[in-house]
Symmetry: D2
Subunit: 284 residues, 4 copies
């Protein structure tokens, strides 16, 4: 029996119009479902309706690409499969327009879908003794930068323990292929097909003319030590989760030992999607 | 009679070794001199020794390029001429090695030097009614960005009232030719010969693939309106002076109606200086 | 009395439909006119109808931006004013849609127009003794490169006799502001407002990580010496006129001592034009 | 029994000084060896001394990186292992300084070395019926461009049959990780660790602001159709082998079904090598 979870961007579905349609569709089909914590409250449900502590097989995500990033970081590590129901503009990560939610749910119940696996990052903050003090996941990228805006940070980067370079820059981006069309792209990084097993290292506005963009194997581990004259540095995942980095701490970034699984019906050409997305950027 | 001021980077000349040599040299020559405020205290002098409220003809600046930026913003508007006495690594703005201070002072007294004039920026923050609420000068660049690190800001840029573009980016740099080898360069801007009368507009990590670097006339006025979903934005001059920008405020940036005057003895080839500087960046 | 010339892109107006309309309009108004050489033949006219050897006051150019480049190189040096009658897609240099040719001619006769002056380049090839062996004009850019495709050339660049740098690259572009939206832009150069008095130096695919884009004063003179292991190098103006460069020859490039004058009725915002142009590039 | 081949860059070892040392060392050890064709003649040997038609186990390559590219294209497809004996400046592909040739030969005979496998490209030209008319290998990159210098070519690119984009540009580079530090880098491509299984697609000076650099899987096949208004286009491999492309022909590029094997003794940090190389570029 397939257990469903529902994850809604409460800004995009403020009146819960589509969320209630999803609930109704699942009720109609007699399928068990639970709500992500924020939604429990919004739906006026009790704690027994929460996904918390349960094994969710499929998470229906209502929102945009940003919503999908948050949901992937939270549910990806549990092996939950995610289907994005798009409520925004064109999304890379959302497979299905929200209007088609019933057909999508039927497809899931019939097992008629494709799985697209995406690598995620695991970033850990190590204290002076090399012990992991905190760790977190990212689907797009990990960024190490100043807490205060636009101040230079000096980053020392190693791959598998071997020094790569040190850059004086606004920050350092370590990106997955999924993240290659996001922040990494605006910092000059290459576009990577989503299923290629690599990681990207891209400094932001480096005060050096060294080669800026590096592609390494998805099996490599990156270590970053950040020095600053202007106070603390931070590790930010997907532009959403931030962790302060202490003075003698280092950050370790590598591929997570799981890949998040997206449910796919459509078989879009990644490059045409990209082209649409970029055109959208230009014609504002 | 030429009135001297002395401006010292107290980190670089912590024991005032060179500052005292400057003082001695001026005493030996019977020349009147005053201290910048911070130095008054460091020298244990009284308020009568301060530059404040006096017309300083020539300011001797001991430090590095960063010191020169601060001194230029403070003394440039008064028409004071600046001579940089270099205590750091290679500097673009500092003419003379600090060891040669006596010869340099003699040259000034004899009027045997060249003047290199550099344009400065005047940036103003305008409130909702269009009144200038605050204004400040910059020698390198004005940056408009988020207060919080690495968050996107939406900037709407106009030149002489005509819309140029709006960018979703990490920030916007408006640079002088002097600033073209600084932050602007790391954001992908061109290198401009110091005496060319232009301004540069360069977005930082724009989320768009539009043309990124724009060169306009030094007589143009740039207006920037910055929108943010994440709180306040700031205007920063030369990476040193910061001003918070209110919700309905705009920023106006144009060439100041004076140019700062640097005293020059040496006639260095700007491009070779640049090459040295960049080589220094690479071989760390 | 205003003497007109007519310059037609014979590919774009293959059946001379619009050219004949121009002729008719000039006949109707009793205005003297002559044809550019290629057009003399196409119109079946005799040599007395040719612009050759006459002082042409206003040249009507039917075609696209490329046509305007050719016409400007040929007629600009004589002080002829040019009006572009656009037969193509959006053009930066063509003021008037060809359909409005009658109103445009009336405007010229009435003197009701604006002049936009653009700087042009003068490039000279100097032999081993420093004598000018050949020279030519360009409105967009001068390019120095290999004759054989995609072979590295080693260029030594000086400005006003002072060495700037030497690059191993595919070629070197020296561009006017007008040319800044052309080849220079694809090689990574900045966009320059058309009326700013500067020149741009941009190497093509340099095998070096030095600063790539340089902005110098419009009054500077650039000297280029190109070395190649693979045979001859060439100087190309506006991508249209090519001159082989001998083994011991150098190329000198500076602003021409005249500016070409474009007749303008419309007052388009250069940046919006640019935005349209770039959008056109994306959505093919 | 290990059969050796010798491949010498006759410009770098013009007097065959090191080549004769290699011969002597192999003679001393009683090891069979043959010469590459060009060397047969230079050594004054007979046709029986030629590698041609023989299975060569290990090829000793005397020269620089460029020599290694040529040797890899010729001997890589046969499964020959290559050891580079460096006679030039720092090389990425040459493991051993030529002075250490005896120790290197001993290491090979003792089987005491490491193999570094690099992917190579196989490029084929397909005629209008889709039949392969010609094919060739490349270790660094395949470039499709105009025959005439600096003329725009319109390239239509597909990956695994799906359209990616079409660019108006100076040319298109498809690079291996090995080639990522070569021409691809000067065109703005990322640096890729040598052993990562990807290919890079990079247009040269594209007349578009679309994303320029694309990273795809090493298992993908790229198809390129090139259109030109200015005559023929060419396919060039490693900047050394050129093939004219006919009007209705397309080019197919994919990973070769073998990887060239380099013999390695030293275990250099790729990123430090790169840094040295780039520093060498700057300080000329």
């Amino acid at each position: 029996m397939c257990i469903f979870g529902i994850y809604t961007n409460l800004k995009k579905d403020a009146e819960l119009h589509y969320t209630r349609q999803v609930v109704q569709a699942l009720e109609d089909r007699g399928v068990p479902y639970y709500f992500d914590d924020a939604l429990v409250k919004a739906m006026g449900a009790g704690p027994e309706a929460s996904c918390r502590g349960r094994k969710i097989d499929v998470l229906l995500v209502l929102g945009g690409d940003g919503t999908m990033l948050t949901a992937a970081r939270k549910y990806g590590p549990q092996g939950t499969r995610l289907l994005g129901l798009n409520m925004g503009r064109m999304g890379f990560l959302l497979d299905t327009e929200v209007e088609n939610l019933r057909a999508a749910i039927d497809g899931i119940l019939a097992g008629k879908y494709r799985i697209e696996k995406r690598i995620m990052l695991k970033a850990g903050i190590l204290d002076a003794e090399g012990k992991i003090r905190a760790s977190a996941y990212g689907l797009n990228e990990a960024v190490i930068s100043q807490k205060k805006v636009l101040r230079i940070v000096n980053v020392h980067v190693a791959v598998n323990g071997l020094p790569v370079d040190n850059w004086r820059c606004d920050g350092l981006i370590v990106s997955t292929p999924t993240g290659s069309t996001g922040y990494s792209l605006s910092a000059g990084g290459p576009v990577v097909q989503p299923t290629v097993d690599v990681l990207l290292i891209t400094p932001i506005c480096p005060h050096t003319l060294q080669s800026s963009n590096i592609v390494i194997s998805g099996n490599d581990e990156i270590t970053v030590r950040a020095e600053s004259d202007y106070g603390s540095t931070v590790l930010t995942l997907d532009g959403q989760d931030a962790f302060e980095i202490g003075q003698n701490e280092t950050v370790s970034i590598k591929k997570a030992d799981f890949g998040v699984e997206f449910i796919r019906y459509t078989d879009k050409n990644f490059f045409l999607l990209l082209k649409e997305k970029l055109a959208e950027w230009v014609i504002k």
